[in-house]
């Protein structure tokens, strides 16, 4: 028998917070993945909501391209408010 599918598990700890990746598990269908996620990852009220996603459905950026991808943001200091000097007299900005 072939191995059951791998699902990635995301949990919202409480309302107002984002769902956060907590780990993964195997299940034969999404419903089983949800039930298993509840038993494996929320035995102590760690969450109020669970998402499960088939791992193979996720497209990820390539870590070898980290610099090409993310370094260009580094020299765009004008995207931050601190780039703009303000006369001392100006308030509420």
């Amino acid at each position: 028998m072939s191995e059951m599918k791998l699902y990635e598990v995301f949990i919202r700890a409480k309302s107002g917070l984002n769902h956060r990746h907590v780990g993964s598990l195997h299940a034969s269908d999404p419903q089983m993945a949800l039930l298993n996620a509840r038993d494996v990852y929320t035995r102590r009220k760690e969450g109020v909501s669970i998402w499960v996603v088939e791992a193979e459905q996720i497209t990820a950026s390539n870590p070898a391209q980290e610099h090409e991808w993310f370094d260009p943001a580094e020299d765009k200091v004008y995207r931050h408010p601190t780039f703009y000097p303000l006369d001392k007299e100006v308030e509420n900005m």
């Binding site: 028998m1 072939s2 191995e3 059951m4 791998l6 907590v22 780990g23 993964s24 598990l25 195997h26 299940a27 034969s28 269908d29 089983m32 038993d39 494996v40 035995r43 102590r44 791992a55 193979e56 996720i58 497209t59 990820a60 390539n62 870590p63 070898a64």
Partner: protein
């Protein structure tokens, strides 16, 4: 998506340079994540250590599972059930973290069931009395905590994260065990005796949980350099002894080591020599319960086969219905 390593470095760096950069990242305390470049030996060491750890959590359910139906009260039974369920969870957290290194769950299960994989030697000892459940929680989970707390800072991200989750759950395990021992130690003479015998049975095997002494440990040095481990086996063992001896004294129980004494100069306990031959024997499969433990896992796997089959058929049916 997590399970592929990036061995085809497009940067065309020489492996030596990659190795140096990798070590530099480790030295900067950066975490290594699944798809990052890593030396093959780092990957292999992690797979070995993490899968052994996961197997230990799973096999570790058995000595305690032995007492679930015979726990002395409903309260103790519920506590023990919750603890054993936690251990199953620990196994799953670590298995899924191990799979990020490119092995499949089927491979890992197969290695355990065919006897190829190792798991902690401690779980090959029997738990003949209720007091052993106290001793296991206090000493075995206590030793596990000593080992796991520094692993929360392990250089491999998924391992470190699973350890943080596990450590949050472990301290209840140790406390419930110590509480069992406390109740027995303050009970009748027969109960106190039962607690003492359990301590006698589990003290030395608990010390062996930290693995061979540093001078004989072949993996230690590289693992420390890669920050997979943060302390050596002997350092962790010593910390455990220093923490546990006063806890035994508090209960009026005696550590079964005539050479154990406080050393003013070093500020720690000196202890007697560990019987390493026994450790080797148990690791090699000749402990008191090795065969029984493995057989229990094989039975569980085989008896669960119909459940896995049913789940697969159910899934296929659902797919057909969706398509129709």
């Amino acid at each position: 998506m997590y399970s592929q390593g990036l061995k085809d470095a497009e940067g065309q760096l020489e492996p030596a340079e990659l190795m140096a950069e990798f070590q530099a990242r480790i030295d900067r305390e950066e975490k290594i994540e699944p798809r990052d470049w890593m030396p093959e030996a780092y990957r292999k060491t992690l797979i070995r250590q993490m899968s052994q750890h996961a197997h230990s959590e799973i096999v570790g359910q058995l000595p305690e599972g032995n007492w679930i139906t015979r726990a002395p009260s409903l309260k103790r039974k519920m506590i023990l059930l919750a603890k054993v369920q936690d251990e199953a969870g620990h196994g799953l957290y670590i298995y899924s973290a191990t799979e990020t290194l490119g092995v499949t769950r089927d491979q890992l299960t197969d290695e355990l069931l065919t006897g190829k994989a190792k798991y902690s030697s401690i779980f090959n000892y029997p738990t003949p009395s209720w007091a052993d459940i106290g001793a296991v929680g206090w000493l075995v989970d206590g030793a596990a905590i000593m080992n796991q707390v520094p692993l929360c800072r392990s250089s491999y991200g998924p391992y470190a994260r699973s350890m943080i989750r596990i450590c949050k759950e472990e301290s209840f395990h140790q406390r419930q065990g110590y509480e069992i021992m406390t109740v027995l130690a303050r009970g009748t003479a027969a109960q106190k005796d039962m607690a003492q015998r359990a301590l006698n049975r589990f003290w030395w095997p608990a010390l062996m949980m930290f693995g061979p002494s540093d001078k004989d440990s072949k993996h230690s040095e590289q693992s420390m350099k890669w920050k997979i481990k943060r302390f050596t086996n002997d350092e962790l063992r010593q910390k455990f002894i220093d923490a546990t001896v006063p806890q035994a004294e508090h209960l009026g129980l005696t550590i079964p080591d005539p050479e154990l004494r406080w050393n003013e100069e070093t500020g720690q306990y000196d202890h007697g020599e560990i019987n390493w031959q026994e450790f080797i024997d148990v690791i090699k499969g000749n402990g008191p319960c090795n065969k029984e433990r493995l057989q229990a896992r094989i039975n569980a796997h085989e008896e669960g086969e119909w459940v896995r089959e049913a789940a697969e058929v159910y899934q296929q049916k659902q797919n057909q219905e969706e398509a129709a």
